[in-house]
């Protein structure tokens, strides 16, 4: 490992726990060190912490408090939304419409729903990664009177494309379909309000905004039928039973509060960092491709680039060794960096090695860090290319 300070540009995978969130979790752990369902004073203290966190998050999302369901994270919330909806309409051949670039938590749940009898329609995306609302109109033409759920992410985790969720939500609801959106990457980075976009279901997770790993939420409009995925107690309206972690919920709410409060400032800063990074990479790497560049809206803190002629693993190792932490699209899965379904959906022809690097900024990312990451990437790409073009030993 080099001696230079390490640079963490993988906040879209996990953004390190904010000190304030850590402090809240520790403080709450003292007063809420009991089961929120217990009928004694200790339990009530935990319940109070939990419910204040729920209120805080509801306020930030401009949603009713009792529609906020705590879950174990983004994957849990996505599954509860998609599979829970489908199972609530078992036997009616519900229609499930998703985009081709959804997170695997949605795609996996949707495929499972299809295996259980739902009809699955996958909406294509354009070269910018965005869904065309007209395609959703067409997809819903086939719904007839069946129950239908549309699930399109607010913003894409691999390339940063912001979807036209307001239009998609309006179309879905006008046609009697329910609308779910995975806002895991969008929340805290761009305005996310259920008053503005009245989605029926919305997923957020804590660890992308500096909250703890292991807790997320599904915001649910009261009248959306869902079948739970696990059965047991009545916690979270019986939709995500199991003892709640009140201290984690409080830390989640604190991280969310800070992320939303900082957002106007970050929204001004991040795009400048992103454009500076793109410019330096473009200057230094012949043939560099910026993904989703033509999109009408992109996440401000995320830049995904492609380097033809180099494979992802080589570039990621070189950056890792130089102390620059980035990833190649989604960090989920097995540590493999290949075969992104998102890039495939953009219609990019695969011919030869093509390294994909996703840089994502956090609240404290500096322009100096971005400059150094760019320089390191340029050097590593040049090295990999010269080795790749040389004849084998």
């Amino acid at each position: 490992m080099s001696n230079a300070p390490r640079i963490y540009l993988d906040h879209a995978a996990t953004s390190p726990l904010r000190p304030e969130a850590r402090a809240v979790r520790e403080a709450c752990a003292d007063v809420a060190d009991a089961n929120p369902a217990s009928a004694h004073g200790f339990g009530r203290a935990a319940l109070d912490v939990l419910e204040r966190a729920r209120q805080g998050l509801a306020d930030l999302l401009e949603a009713p408090r009792d529609g906020i369901l705590f879950t174990s994270g983004g994957t849990a919330s996505d599954n509860l939304a998609v599979l829970g909806f489908s199972r609530a309409h078992a036997g009616q051949r519900p229609l499930v419409v998703v985009s081709a670039v959804e997170h695997k938590a949605v795609l996996g749940a949707a495929r499972r729903a299809a295996a259980e009898g739902a009809e699955l329609v996958v909406l294509p995306v354009g070269p910018d990664g965005a869904v065309d609302p007209v395609d959703l109109e067409h997809a819903l033409d086939g719904a007839d009177d069946r129950p239908a759920l549309v699930s399109v992410m607010w913003a894409n985790n691999e390339i940063g494309t912001v979807q036209p969720v307001a239009d998609l939500c309006r179309i879905a609801r006008a046609r009697g379909a329910r609308f779910h959106t995975d806002a895991v990457q969008a929340f805290g980075k761009i305005p996310v309000s259920l008053a503005e976009v009245p989605a029926d279901l919305l997923t957020v997770t804590a660890h992308k905004i500096g909250g703890p790993v292991g807790i997320g939420l599904l915001a649910r409009r009261e009248d959306v039928p869902l079948e739970p995925l696990c059965y047991g107690g009545t916690q979270e309206n019986g939709l995500w039973p199991g003892t709640q972690d009140a201290a984690a919920a409080a830390a989640f709410a604190e991280a969310a509060r800070l992320a939303v409060a900082e957002r106007p400032d970050a929204a001004a800063r991040w795009p400048r960092l992103r454009e500076a990074l793109a410019a330096e990479l473009r200057d230094g790497i012949e043939g560099l491709v910026v993904h989703a560049e033509g999109a009408a809206a992109r996440l401000p803190h995320l830049l995904s680039v492609g380097v033809p002629g180099v494979d992802s693993a080589t570039l990621l190792v070189a950056l890792d060794m130089a102390g620059v932490a980035v990833s190649s699209g989604s960090a989920c899965g097995s540590g493999s960096s290949s075969g992104s379904h998102v890039l495939a959906a953009l219609g990019r022809e695969r011919s030869g090695p093509y390294a994909v690097i996703r840089f994502s900024f956090g609240p404290a990312t500096t322009s100096e860090e971005v400059r150094r990451a760019a320089a390191t990437t340029v050097r590593a790409a040049a090295r990999a290319r010269s080795a790749g073009s040389a004849s084998p030993a």
Partner: protein, 361 residues
């Protein structure tokens, strides 16, 4: 800055310990797991050595050792160099060894290029083999200290120029020591069973695998006659790919002596069977050869291995060229199987070269 080595890590115990030994020796190690085929269809919760679990275990070991690790996607190259050859060889009635192709191309060519790109001096693997300096100043490939584990049979196809760049940390080790070391280090792979299956055929059903890749009526995967050496038809088979020379299983019974597959003739759709005596061969031809030492000329006495774990057999080179050779075996051997490798060893035990057996007489 210390010297760097790219260490191939399959997620098995051997390559895990190889990486650990390099770290202990002070090398700057980068772990590389090669993704060779698509795991998307592997159902959740199943154990499969080279699948997702192999990748996950390799990552866990790298994390334990504190070394960087990445998954290198060589699926396209592996498909072309290994899987397509595997299918073509079976289609031609031969019994290929995909591990030889994977070593020749995927590991010791494609991964060496990644080592170059990462400024790594060496590529290391968990193979039981050694590289040793020769008198002429070059580097030779030599058998492992643990003769029972020696894997040089699978390594003859490496380009000779690559040998000086290779490191085999387990070359001097015994398997039992390797497991003990893995346990000491707390590696998750310490007690993992060894895999003998073809990594891209995790269910072991290579005929089923071929069936999905060959035309329905291809002789390798569709019915044909089982015949005696004189052409007498004695039964029917479901495809020649299910048979290899020397095989006894799955043949019709009722003969006075045990019968074996003597030849596979896909163009005639025939599997030829005969008694044990018909298996003996005293000459073999190998093609697609590769030399890891100065090429042995006609008349040179060598030792040859014609199957993994088969004993070494004295032989004399009858002819040799850059891409192949003909050998006279000192005594007739049973089951000299087209598609398997013939690997030649010199008197000092080093690998002279090898080739793919195409004919035997």
């Amino acid at each position: 800055m210390s010297r760097s080595v790219l260490c191939a890590m399959s997620g098995g115990v051997d390559s895990s310990v190889a990486a650990a030994l390099l770290v202990e020796a002070g090398w700057r190690v980068i772990g590389a797991t090669v993704k060779t085929f698509c795991y998307a269809d592997v159902p959740a919760g199943t154990r499969s050595c080279c699948g997702l679990e192999g990748i996950a275990d390799a990552r866990a070991v790298a994390a334990r050792l504190g070394v960087p690790h990445q998954v290198f996607d060589l699926e396209d190259d592996f498909t072309r160099d290994v899987i397509e050859d595997f299918v073509a060889e079976h289609a031609a009635g031969r019994t290929p060894i995909p591990c030889v192709r994977c070593n020749s191309f995927t590991k010791f060519r494609d991964l060496v290029r990644r080592a170059d790109a990462l400024d790594c001096e060496f590529l290391a693997t968990g193979h039981y083999a050694r590289t040793v300096p020769a008198d002429d100043g070059t580097v030779r490939l030599a058998r492992a200290a643990d003769d029972g584990k020696d894997q040089t049979y699978f390594l003859w196809g490496i380009e000779r120029g690559v040998l000086p760049r290779l490191a085999f940390p387990l070359g001097e080790a015994r398997k039992s020591e390797v497991r003990a070391r893995a346990r000491e280090l707390g590696l998750v792979t310490a007690d993992k069973p060894e895999s003998f299956e073809i990594c891209f055929v995790p269910d072991g059903d290579h005929v089923g695998f071929l069936r999905r890749r060959l035309p329905r009526a291809h002789p390798a995967v569709s019915a044909g006659p089982i015949v005696l050496e004189d052409g007498t038809r004695v039964g029917e088979h479901a495809g020649t790919a299910g048979f290899t020379v020397g095989q006894r299983k799955g043949l019709p019974g009722g003969f006075p002596e045990p019968m074996f597959v003597v030849e596979v003739r896909p163009t005639a759709r025939e599997v030829v069977i005969g008694p044990r005596a018909s298996l003996a061969r005293s000459q073999l031809v190998a093609e697609r050869g590769n030399w890891l030492a100065p090429r042995p000329g006609a008349g040179r006495e060598v030792e040859v291995r014609i199957r993994h774990r088969a004993p070494l057999v004295p032989a004399v080179v009858e002819a040799s060229g850059p891409d192949g050779f003909t050998l006279a075996l000192s005594a007739p051997r049973e089951a000299v199987t087209p598609g398997q490798s013939a690997v030649l060893y010199g008197e000092d035990g080093s690998v002279l070269g090898g080739g793919v057996i195409t004919a035997a007489a």
